[in-house]
């Protein structure tokens, strides 16, 4: 069911993609099938879809930048009325950068690490605007760096990418593309790797700059609320095909295709607050925890360490889910690792069930068995050479009084609990999808029936619909076995859905903590307010549709310098 485009729109379209098909050259597998859409001048269009939907390939093939293993088998791509298939390599190069710009997802790898910012920005101008003198190029670069909010543009020219944070690099990337004043900007997951607050700033900047130049934007993303916030039209892709497209407000209000509805209903949303059993004592109690990194021992002296956590205190009650939120570098992962005993704290105490926890001390083994961990990346957290059964069973080693048969039974039992079942026990991680792997990681954490689980961004690497299923599974297991949980996440939607209590961290300190409804509805600390106002939520609005809702509307979005 492909949305129809009125012919009038197609006539003056900036970009007109018709019936585009791409396949893997070696195997002939079609990865994009019969995709057609248009982008009008100045319009912001979003392509949403999960991994494997072909959204990135379709967008990259517009500039003929798909990987060499992917071949275009059918379709026409017209840009400003010209069929791109007929272009010579030279004409294609003039189009790339000059008329169509591209921003990439990963700010860590999208700038050349061995070249100064100045040279990288300048070389595009040198190719596309030959009339410009070296001084003229420099002035343009400086002006653009200033406009994207780089504090010291002169200094930035001679600096290398690694000297900037992720958000700053993405601004520089944007500067490098917008410098050439393209008519179309393709933004491939432009802010996925960034924190919520930084994400908002970069997007506002991007929208502001492109509006100022009348540049159209094709924004590829898996993040529905972000696309909903910034686009005029949305294209929904699934398994290489477009399932639905239309104006953003209409499509969100009344989605027609079942997949779009599934996608929208998979958005995390707040559940009613759970009553917790009254408990006298917390299961985990952290007092004045200090963690210092570094202090690299040199040949002659010991360098001063960097303090990652500045004396934190935190407690987790039995059966409680405590969410730890904060930007990158806020210390939330460090705190999780310190509590798990993976990092030696430099100061403070951690108590489990009232007893102090110390490496090698009394009760250490008991604590390590009762505290389990789920990691973010299901691709690197499972040993690829172990079967699923062995991976899950390994957690049962050292459990006193549990025989081999008992252990095997428990493994199968837990695998069924996470929805995988016995047949998976003999398989290897590479045979499983990302969602299935994360189920294995959860099975491994709960097989020992721990009292306390630390989950570090357990669903961040998963697609929207898979994420919803894994979250449901997690909540289910938590309700059934009643373990307490420290849930580390930067995704406020997920936190809003599952947390009983929320702890907000910034720069190694806890700035606010309280029950979920209080923190989300009446945030006290300015940082919490900024965090909540960064990205809107999508809340259900009947008929399977959703509408945008600001979690906390603090101030008008940052003005874009122009």
């Amino acid at each position: 069911m492909t949305g129809t485009i009125p012919p009038a729109a197609a006539l003056d379209a900036l970009l007109d993609v018709e019936n585009l098909s791409l396949c893997v050259s070696a195997t002939g597998t079609e990865v994009v099938r019969g995709v057609g859409f248009t982008v009008a001048p100045g319009e912001i269009v979003g392509i949403v879809g999960e991994s494997g939907s072909g959204k990135t390939l379709a967008a990259r093939s517009i500039m003929a930048l798909q990987p060499p293993a992917i071949r275009r088998t059918a379709g026409t791509i017209r840009f400003e009325g010209r069929d791109l298939a007929g272009l010579s390599p030279k004409e294609l190069r003039e189009l790339r950068g000059g008329r169509i710009g591209m921003v990439f997802q990963e700010p860590m790898t999208s700038l050349n690490p061995s070249m100064t910012i100045g040279r990288q920005l300048e070389e595009g101008l040198a190719v596309h605007q030959r009339a410009l003198s070296a001084d003229g190029r420099r002035d343009r670069v400086l002006d653009m760096l200033r406009r994207v909010g780089i504090a010291d543009p002169d200094g930035a020219l001679a600096a290398y990418p690694h000297q900037f944070s992720g958000g700053m690099r993405q601004r520089i990337m944007l500067a490098s593309v917008m410098l050439l004043q393209p008519a179309l900007l393709i933004a491939d997951e432009p802010t996925t790797a960034l924190d919520a607050v930084v994400q908002r700033d970069v997007l506002e900047l991007m929208v502001g700059l492109t509006r100022a130049h009348g540049t159209a934007v094709l924004m590829i993303s898996h993040d529905l609320s972000m696309v909903a916030r910034y686009t005029d039209r949305i294209i929904v892709m699934r398994k290489g095909e477009i399932v639905e497209q239309g104006r953003t407000d209409g499509l969100l209000r009344a989605p027609r295709h079942p997949y779009t509805r599934a996608l929208l209903s998979a958005m995390p949303r707040r559940q009613p607050a759970r009553p917790l059993p009254p408990a006298a004592a917390p299961i985990i109690e952290v007092r004045d925890l200090v963690v210092e990194y570094g202090g690299r021992r040199g040949l002659f002296r010991r360098e001063a360490g960097k303090r990652a956590l500045h004396g934190l205190s935190l407690s987790v009650m039995p059966q409680e889910v405590v969410a730890l939120v904060g930007g990158s570098g806020s210390g939330k992962t460090t705190l999780g690792r310190a509590i798990a005993g993976l990092l030696a704290p430099s100061g403070g105490t951690i108590r489990y069930a009232g007893r102090p926890v110390e490496a090698g001390g009394e009760g250490w083994a008991d604590y390590r068995r009762n505290c389990q961990m789920v990691f973010q990346d299901p691709y690197s957290s499972l040993d690829p050479r172990m079967t699923i059964g062995a991976l899950v069973g390994e957690a049962l080693r050292g459990v006193p009084g549990m025989g081999r048969r008992k252990k095997a039974e428990r493994v199968v039992e837990v695998l069924s609990e996470v929805g995988l079942g016995r047949p998976y026990a003999d398989r290897y991680p590479h045979e499983l999808s990302g969602g299935q792997r994360q189920r294995v990681a959860i099975a491994r954490a709960v097989v020992r029936r721990p009292a306390f689980v630390i989950a570090d961004e357990p669903v961040s690497a998963l697609d929207v619909t898979v994420r919803a299923q894994v979250l449901e599974l997690f909540a289910d297991l938590q309700a059934r076995h009643g373990f307490s949980c420290l849930f580390i996440s930067h995704d406020l939607g997920v936190v809003e859905q599952i947390a009983d209590r929320v702890v907000v961290m910034q720069d190694g300190r806890i700035v606010e903590q309280g029950d979920r409804d209080t923190v989300f509805d009446r945030p006290a600390h300015p940082y919490t307010r900024r965090l909540l106002s960064a990205i809107p939520a999508l809340e259900p609005a009947g008929e399977g549709g959703v509408r945008l809702k600001w979690r906390f509307d603090e101030a008008a979005p940052e003005a874009v310098p122009s």
Partner: protein, 314 residues
């Protein structure tokens, strides 16, 4: 920077010290008495004892080590037992002969292999790529002595283009000297080129996958600008490290190649000294080799930031 160099040189001291002790002890574990070897059949117990005393071999091992190491610190590596020449000038002379061959070979190999590997990666899975990878595999799979013999056979004996065995120093007759080192250089060049092509290709492939390469293309840059301006510097790092290791290894001794082509280089000196139980020469050679290895790697590390600004000398 200076601080870093100083620190690195200081860190080499324990390496060299351990090397000195190991070398000293190992040689003396090998059965065989230099005095007996020198005197041969004429040895009487009295003359043997006399010679042993003159060579200092009658002292205990720690005392022998102490004397030797003390002299080394003063720059005196001793006198060769067999040729009665001072060890250090001997080692340096022979080293320059080997080093000339090695440096030319590695320089040429790098000049060919790095671009070849990059082009193979750039045209991955094409005919060019297949050819270059096949060539590289073939080259580094052939043992150097065999390759050397083949060259001798064809270029020397059959075609008569080049002199077969021997060595002429550059000061005597530069042209003849050049002719004599062509084949040894070629042997090493071909072998190391195979090794380096594979490394250069692998690291270029790694880099070509990254977003900044696509970004460079998306800016409208030509393929040669993408490859040389953006991929080269980033892909060269690992190859550069390997070049350093190769250089350190080869400078430490190319005894096999020197034997095939009868070049009086450092490798041959060491082998001959081992057969003759010429302790001072063996010790001097090995210590010098260890020093060269440490020095080459220090230079490689110091130059690394040129290719990758993320690596600083600190």
């Amino acid at each position: 920077m200076l601080h870093f160099v100083f620190k690195r040189i200081l860190m080499a001291v324990p390496t060299l010290l351990i090397m000195a002790v190991t070398v000293f002890v190992l040689i003396r574990l090998i059965p065989g008495d230099p005095a007996a070897l020198m005197l041969g059949d004429l040895a009487t117990p009295a003359s043997l004892a006399d010679l042993r005393e003159r060579l200092g071999l009658d002292q205990s091992l720690p005392v022998q080590f102490g004397i030797w190491f003390g002299n080394v610190l003063r720059g005196d590596f001793g006198i060769s037992i067999t040729s009665s020449q001072p060890v250090l000038p001997l080692v340096l002379d022979r080293f320059w002969i080997s080093a000339r061959v090695v440096l030319i070979a590695v320089l040429l190999a790098s000049l060919f292999a790095v671009p070849a590997g990059m082009i193979a990666a750039w045209r991955q899975n094409s005919g060019t790529d297949l050819f270059l990878v096949g060539l590289a595999t073939l080259l580094y799979s052939i043992p150097t002595f065999w390759l050397g013999l083949l060259l001798l056979l064809f270029l020397g004996l059959q075609l008569n283009w080049l002199p077969v065995v021997g060595y002429v120093s550059f000061s005597e007759d530069p042209w003849a000297a050049l002719l004599y080192i062509v084949m040894p250089v070629m042997t090493l060049f071909l072998h190391e080129m195979g090794v380096l092509i594979r490394m250069s290709r692998a690291s270029t492939l790694e880099v070509l996958r990254l977003d900044y390469i696509t970004h460079a293309r998306a800016k409208g840059l030509s393929e040669s600008a993408v490859l040389w301006r953006h991929a080269f510097k980033n892909a060269f790092g690992p190859t550069w490290t390997l070049i350093g290791l190769v250089l350190g290894n080869l400078l430490g001794g190319i005894a096999v190649v020197e034997t095939v082509f009868t070049i009086p280089g450092l490798g041959r000196l060491l082998v001959d000294a081992i057969f003759a139980r010429d302790y001072p020469v063996i010790q001097g050679c090995l210590l010098f080799v260890a020093f060269v290895y440490v020095a080459v790697n220090l230079v490689v590390d110091l130059l690394y930031p040129v290719f990758d600004p993320r690596v600083t000398a600190e």
